[in-house]
Symmetry: C2
Subunit: 150 residues, 2 copies
């Protein structure tokens, strides 16, 4: 066998392809709600964490501070999150869901459930859970997120 045939099995390549497809389909489902996939991810994280500093959120979500900053801007603009100054350290502040944001999460979570169900329906329940487990393992053991898994 040639060195080339091994090209076929790069996991990163497969991962990128599947992830893109899932996000893309989800984006279409979210379009009517005026929320993007990235925005949903942040709302979702905030729902689980309560008030949190942008830097901590970046750690948790596996993104850079810069990306979080811009994302928070957009969500603040849309009135879905609020920013609260910290009197003890004026460098920072904290982010949390606004009332409107909190009300919207369950609806969006429903869309996410639907999307997951549709895309992963081709796997058995066991396979689906196995996939989640493997992904969680990769996240934890590669230090992609500070929180256990979320």
């Amino acid at each position: 066998m040639s060195a080339v045939s091994d090209l076929a099995s790069h996991t990163g390549y497969l991962l990128r392809m599947v992830s893109n497809a899932v996000s893309q389909r989800f984006a279409r489902k979210l379009a009517g709600e005026d929320v993007t996939v990235a925005e949903w991810a942040m709302l979702r994280s905030l729902y689980g964490s309560g008030a949190i500093a942008p830097s901590a959120l970046a750690e948790k979500m596996g993104m850079t501070k810069g990306a979080i900053s811009k994302l928070a801007d957009r969500l603040h603009e849309k009135g879905l999150i609020s920013r609260t100054g910290n009197p003890e350290d004026r460098r920072g502040h904290s982010l949390s869901l606004s009332t409107a944001g909190a009300m919207k999460v369950p609806l969006l979570a429903g869309f996410a459930d639907d999307n997951d169900a549709a895309f992963f329906a081709v796997l058995s329940a066991e396979e689906h859970e196995r996939l989640r487990d493997l992904l969680r393992t990769l996240i934890v053991k590669n230090g992609l997120s500070t929180v256990p898994v979320d």
Copy 2:
């Protein structure tokens, strides 16, 4: 249990997080070669397919025609692929690796191997293969690529 606790297990969310991390690390490894992750993916696809029309490549790679068009521009600019006109149908043309491009693939494949090995080292060989299988299944059964799996 609340409806909220289920937020924790959206597979699309985990997938996005892992995929971003893998691509990002790979991008850093490729930086010195003046090739991006997307460019590598295209070179890799061309290596396996021989001359192919942009639209067919889009199907195969799970990307839009527009993305392929721009990607091909960049790779052509870098001299890694060549464009060949089709006399029978002047709307289209075909893409293939240039000599320089073909020579570069094995080197890049080595980087990809290294990257895979480093990132997925936290899984056992069985787990890693299982993950690949699950991803291939998702690709095939969701019609993400025209080719069997590649």
